[in-house]
């Protein structure tokens, strides 16, 4: 019997939380206004967390709250009360990296479930045992772990293991990097990371002879994607498949959750489909416009898994609109526009409950039914003919698949 893993998605705000859950995430992780490693994101107030928990639980999903900074003394002052509030709200777990959280939680919120963040850079079973002894129920392994490492850790410790499967990743061992502190005074381990690993540099030898050309030295890694290894991850018993991207758009969240939901279900239902895997790879690449690699999962990354000072991503205008209604009488989709589209464009529509649906836009009407040339305004409400009834909150994108 295959144990179906949890699909864990980022939730940058309440809206994204709902999109992630609606598109098939079994759980979401989010940051509160303090103690989270995305200090400059639009984080959740306690009230928002409560709303998020209620929404998730109503939809049979879980909420994990990141409390994953490396604390300084000044950060610890109200931590106990905060953890108690999280416990009272009913969050399903907190994700922490600093072990002081274990002690504070035991005192103020003993019923909180503790998940250890990847920021603690756990790479081996004996380190896992240290945290298990201290009451940790799940460990998010360091992204440098190989398949063999992950399997051995699961087999030997029986702890719940969570692994990142998709998204941007640190070049350096997580938590053990303060480049941001020295370059910009922004504290990497307290949520201020300015991502120095995405900067371009000039490289010199030790005698100050320049080696690089036009600042094309960078230490940036390509993004992580284990899209080709989902079956193996399921087989070795990983509990939770984690997607990176709390700062990403709803389009990104809906897209990657939708793809990985289908892949996980496909393997667990023993309905492997090579054509869909190929399609999934294409969708995931287009979604972020960054090259991806399995990184440490199947081998040590080499020169092919690193970026070299070139532009690493392009802006993406694939996200055309959100379906907000269907006019049964006229067989028309009502769309809230996100990016420019016009008559004759080939589009593709996806949603959790339907197979992807492609069509060519025959005409575009405004809200009052007048024919217009193009949908050019953000959030403009337009109508397009569509024979198939499409559920609301389906997403219309550029058809780059057919």
């Amino acid at each position: 019997m295959i144990k179906k893993p949890e699909l864990l998605a980022p939730a940058g705000d309440l809206e994204k939380l709902k999109w992630a859950i609606d598109y098939g995430a079994n759980a979401v992780y989010l940051g509160g206004e303090n103690y989270s490693l995305r200090a400059n994101a639009k984080n959740f107030s306690i009230n928002d967390i409560k709303k998020g928990v209620n929404y998730a639980h109503d939809h049979n999903a879980k909420v994990y709250v990141t409390v994953n900074i490396v604390f300084h003394d000044e950060d610890t002052i109200n931590l106990g009360q905060y953890l108690k509030k999280l416990q009272d709200i009913g969050v399903d777990a907190i994700i922490f990296s600093d072990p002081l959280v274990i002690d504070v939680a035991k005192k103020y919120a003993p019923n909180l479930c503790l998940h250890l963040s990847t920021q603690a850079s756990v790479l081996n079973k004996d380190a896992c045992k240290y945290y298990i002894k201290n009451g940790v129920e799940r460990i998010v392994l360091a992204r440098e772990c190989s398949k063999k490492d992950i399997k051995n850790i699961i087999d030997e410790t029986n702890v719940e293991v969570e692994c990142f499967i998709h998204g941007a990743m640190c070049t350096n061992i997580s938590g053990r990097c303060i480049l941001s502190n020295y370059f910009t005074n922004r504290d990497a381990n307290r949520g201020g990371c300015c991502q120095v690993c995405r900067f371009n540099f000039n490289l010199y030898d030790q005698n100050n002879n320049v080696i690089s050309d036009n600042s094309n030295f960078s230490i940036a890694p390509k993004d992580l994607s284990l899209v080709k290894y989902i079956k193996e991850m399921i087989d070795i018993g990983v509990t939770s498949f984690k997607l990176e991207g709390r700062m990403r758009s709803i389009y990104y969240i809906a897209t990657i959750v939708n793809v990985y939901r289908r892949l996980i279900d496909m393997y667990c239902n023993k309905k492997e489909n090579d054509a869909y895997i190929k399609k999934a790879i294409k969708i995931l690449y287009r979604c972020a416009n960054r090259d991806v690699a399995p990184q440490f999962f199947n081998k040590k990354p080499n020169e092919k898994e690193q970026y070299y000072g070139n532009r690493q991503e392009d802006s993406n205008q694939d996200f055309l609109g959100i379906v907000i209604g269907y006019d049964n009488d006229n067989k028309e989709l009502v769309i809230e526009q996100r990016n420019f589209f016009k008559k004759g464009d080939k589009v593709n529509i996806f949603a959790p409950a339907i197979d992807d649906y492609s069509l060519t836009i025959e005409k575009v009407k405004d809200e009052k039914g007048n024919i217009i040339d193009v949908a050019r305004h953000p959030k403009q409400i337009v109508r397009i003919p569509c024979e198939k009834k499409i559920p609301i909150n389906a997403i219309m994108r550029v058809n780059f698949l057919d």
């Binding site: 380190a127 772990c145 381990n189 000039n202």
Partner: protein, 275 residues
């Protein structure tokens, strides 16, 4: 009175004045110019019995290294060292009798964190190089039984990657260069950083050393770490530190372009108002 420990990067440094040594353990340490096997460390300890001797395994450990790691720790445990410095909490489950000093580079910044480790068998902690004087002293004040170690001179560690970031670049562009280390600089910036590779991966250090010579009497720590890694002709600086000759601060700064790091500067992390 705090003791000065010299991080040994070259065997000649074993002859330099200091209250003790930190020796890098072969295969398991990073950012040491010289590493030693347990049997070599045993000989050094025997020869320098009056000095404090610590062995350092200051990096994270991969799952497939555990067997050799544990064996190495057990060998070190028999030597009678003043402490074994570890970078991975795996070592805390091996019931070692030698005092354990935790060096997780940048992960131990608060009094409660250090209290947690003290309650879990750790005897000493190497503090990160990006906290202030007040934070350093508060940690000691709040954890009187825990030994604290603070780097007072040397190039501060900034990051460690498992990847070979420079070799990858050279290979990708079909370039060749060798040397002990490289340097990186941003356009329009005078700041320089050192980047180097070893058996583990790639490390980045600040290009300018920390120099806390005129803070020695203000820092409440049990041990001060002096590290000449990648620096030349620093013995006179070590002499100055041993004699607490703070009057040489400016001369040291002029010679090495050194600074006080974060000892008097807090990091920030909220740069946007999200209200």
């Amino acid at each position: 009175m705090s003791k000065i420990l010299l991080k040994i990067n070259n065997k000649d440094e074993l002859l330099y004045p200091s209250d003790g040594y930190i020796l890098g353990v072969k295969n398991f340490c990073i950012c040491f110019g010289k590493t030693y096997t347990p049997s070599e460390i045993r000989k050094i300890k025997k020869k320098n019995d009056e000095k404090k001797v610590f062995a350092s395994l200051n990096r994270v450990i991969f799952n497939n290294e555990l067997k050799f790691y544990k064996e190495t720790l057990k060998k070190l445990d028999d030597i009678g060292l003043d402490g074994i410095i570890v970078g991975d909490v795996a070592a805390l489950s091996y019931e070692l009798t030698t005092p354990i000093i935790l060096d997780q580079l940048h992960l131990n910044n608060s009094s409660l964190t250090i209290e947690h480790y003290y309650n879990n068998g750790v005897n000493g902690i190497i503090l990160t190089n990006d906290i202030t004087l007040k934070e350093t002293n508060d940690i000691k004040e709040n954890n009187k039984e825990m030994l604290t170690f603070k780097q007072v001179f040397g190039l501060p560690h900034l990051s460690t990657s498992k990847r070979k970031l420079v070799s990858n670049y050279l290979k990708h562009f079909n370039k060749f260069s060798n040397g002990r280390f490289f340097k990186i600089k941003e356009n329009n910036s005078d700041n320089e950083y050192i980047i180097l590779e070893d058996h583990f991966g790639t490390h980045i250090l600040n290009g300018s050393p920390i120099n806390l010579i005129d803070r020695l009497s203000n820092i409440n720590a049990d041990f001060f770490i002096f590290d000449g890694y990648l620096l030349n002709d620093f013995k006179w600086v070590l002499d100055a530190f041993m004699k607490n000759n703070y009057k040489l601060k400016d001369k040291i700064d002029d010679t090495f372009n050194s600074n006080e790091g974060f000892i008097n500067q807090k990091t920030i992390y909220k740069v946007k108002n999200n209200d």
